[in-house]
């Protein structure tokens, strides 16, 4: 597999600057074992990664984490990204932001601020975030607009908040957000631990999708609205990350070069670090990145499927964390021999819609304590018992 051809050009660098975060969201997309990872990269190494990424063809930079604002060198990274003409998007909880720092980052060339919002009431939002965060986020979102920085709100959807989708849209309109991502939880990592409490029913999802579509039409040209369906309710899998190691390159806080934020939870793959080799060499040669490029790895029904060049077999992490085999067809595909796993989860969600909320399983919050005791495979078969203390 040659990665030198245009087929494998990264357009977006996802820079996970740290796994540290003030929030404890029950669907955090960091790996469950995040606390077991090594020391974070220093400023010089990150600056080198930005330069190498741009030379490889990267034009978009997502500064994310964890919480990227916890890094004191964010200013230096944004300044270098501006020099490299990268489109720089800060993906933040908002919590550590100050108005002065946002103004400084804007002056240095920051292009967009994306703030995660858990819900539109303080009580329900803070329940998901695991701490008081809602009011603070609201203030930060207002600063972003006052500073005339483009604002994206990312609201993660699940059973507890999907019925409030119209309130969410009204909330985004009041804040004059430029872009609203209504992104359903994807059930990997911490979210897979909480799937029984969070997965919506088909009926609930359909209602929300229709309301989002109506709002998208109404607000066309003013606010961009994106509705992301959970993989569990698509007939055919999405092209995860636009294909493995194809359009996105992710660098983890400790320097691993990955195709996505969870690939290092798959067993048996070898990942290389930007501490050891240049990003360009790793992009081309990494055994992990080359493992699922192209079609040679595909089993049936993918191998002979006409959609194999459109969806690339779906999500490898989902395949592994649901079936135990990272080579398997993504079980969300109706053609997967493991599709019953998805149907069972949907059936449970439909049944749960009949119960009162109090009958829902208690939520497992992201925590360093659980994470330090986890192995990367714990998202599959977790027996962790944890009750929130608030």
């Amino acid at each position: 597999m040659s990665a030198g051809v245009a087929e494998y050009r990264p357009y977006t660098l996802v820079a996970e600057l740290t796994y540290a975060c003030p929030l404890r969201c029950v669907y955090c997309s960091n790996p469950v074992d995040y606390a077991r990872h090594g020391a974070t990269l220093d400023t010089e190494t990150w600056l080198g990664v930005l330069r190498d990424a741009e030379a490889l063809g990267v034009v978009q930079l997502n500064l994310t984490g964890g919480e990227p604002l916890l890094r004191k060198d964010l200013e230096a990274l944004v300044a270098e990204a501006e020099r490299l003409e990268l489109y720089t998007n800060l993906i933040t909880s908002g919590i550590p932001a100050t108005r002065d720092r946002l103004a400084r980052l804007k002056d240095l060339g920051l292009d967009n601020v994306q703030i995660s919002i858990q819900d539109v009431t303080a009580a329900s939002a803070d329940r998901i975030a695991g701490r008081h965060a809602f009011e603070r986020k609201l203030r930060v979102a207002r600063w972003v607009k006052e500073l005339d920085l483009p604002l994206t709100l990312n609201i993660v959807l699940h059973r507890e908040n999907l019925d409030r989708i119209e309130d969410m849209i009204a909330f985004a309109e009041r804040l004059d957000a430029d872009r609203l991502e209504l992104a359903n939880t994807q059930y990997l990592g911490w979210a897979l631990l909480n799937r029984a409490a969070l997965l919506p029913s088909a009926e609930q999802l359909k209602r929300a999708r229709e309301r989002a579509a109506a709002a998208r039409e109404r607000l066309k040209g003013r606010m961009e609205i994106l509705f992301v369906t959970p993989d569990y309710y698509v007939e055919r899998p999405k092209a995860c990350m636009d294909g493995w190691g194809r359009r996105f390159v992710l660098v983890s806080p400790d320097g691993l070069v990955l195709p996505c934020h969870l690939a290092h939870t798959l067993p048996g793959l070898v990942w290389e670090s930007v501490r050891e080799r240049s990003l360009a060499e790793i992009w081309r040669d990494s055994a992990g990145l080359n493992a699922y490029r192209g079609e040679a790895w595909m089993p049936e029904p993918c191998r002979s499927c006409e959609r194999r060049t459109a969806d690339f077999g779906g999500c490898r992490c989902q395949a592994y964390h649901l079936t135990g085999d990272a080579h398997a067809t993504d079980p969300t595909c109706v053609l997967s021999p493991h599709h019953d796993l998805i149907e069972d989860a949907r059936r449970d969600a439909t049944a749960a819609a009949q119960y009162p909320a109090s009958a829902s399983p208690s939520l497992i919050y992201r925590s360093a304590r659980i994470s330090a005791g986890a192995t990367s495979q714990d998202a599959r078969t977790s027996t962790v018992k944890f009750r929130p203390t608030h």
Partner: protein, 92 residues
């Protein structure tokens, strides 16, 4: 999109040259759009000072091989598409 509208790129949009393909890219949150030379020429004229009519006139002068009405249709359809995606601001 009216002839006297004065479009400029929305603040969330960045235009850059791509050395790998020698094309211009429009970049905005989580997405990018590769522009063909005509589209790039149109975007470069979206400064907030020129009207859509000015942009049509400038393009028609540059692409003399095309009938003016074809140029006009292309400008309107492209700018409308950008506007629908909230990638433009149009001064009144």
């Amino acid at each position: 999109m009216t002839p006297d509208a004065r479009p400029r790129l929305a603040p969330k949009v960045r235009l850059r040259h791509d050395a790998k393909t020698d094309r211009y890219l429009l970049l905005y949150p989580e997405k990018g759009m590769q522009l063909n030379p005509t589209a790039a020429a149109i975007v470069q004229l979206c400064t907030g000072e020129r009207t859509v009519a000015d942009i049509v006139a400038a393009l028609a002068e540059q692409y003399t091989s095309q009938p003016r009405e074809v140029v006009e249709r292309e400008v309107y359809s492209f700018l409308t598409a950008l506007n629908d995606r909230a990638l433009l601001r149009t001064e009144p």
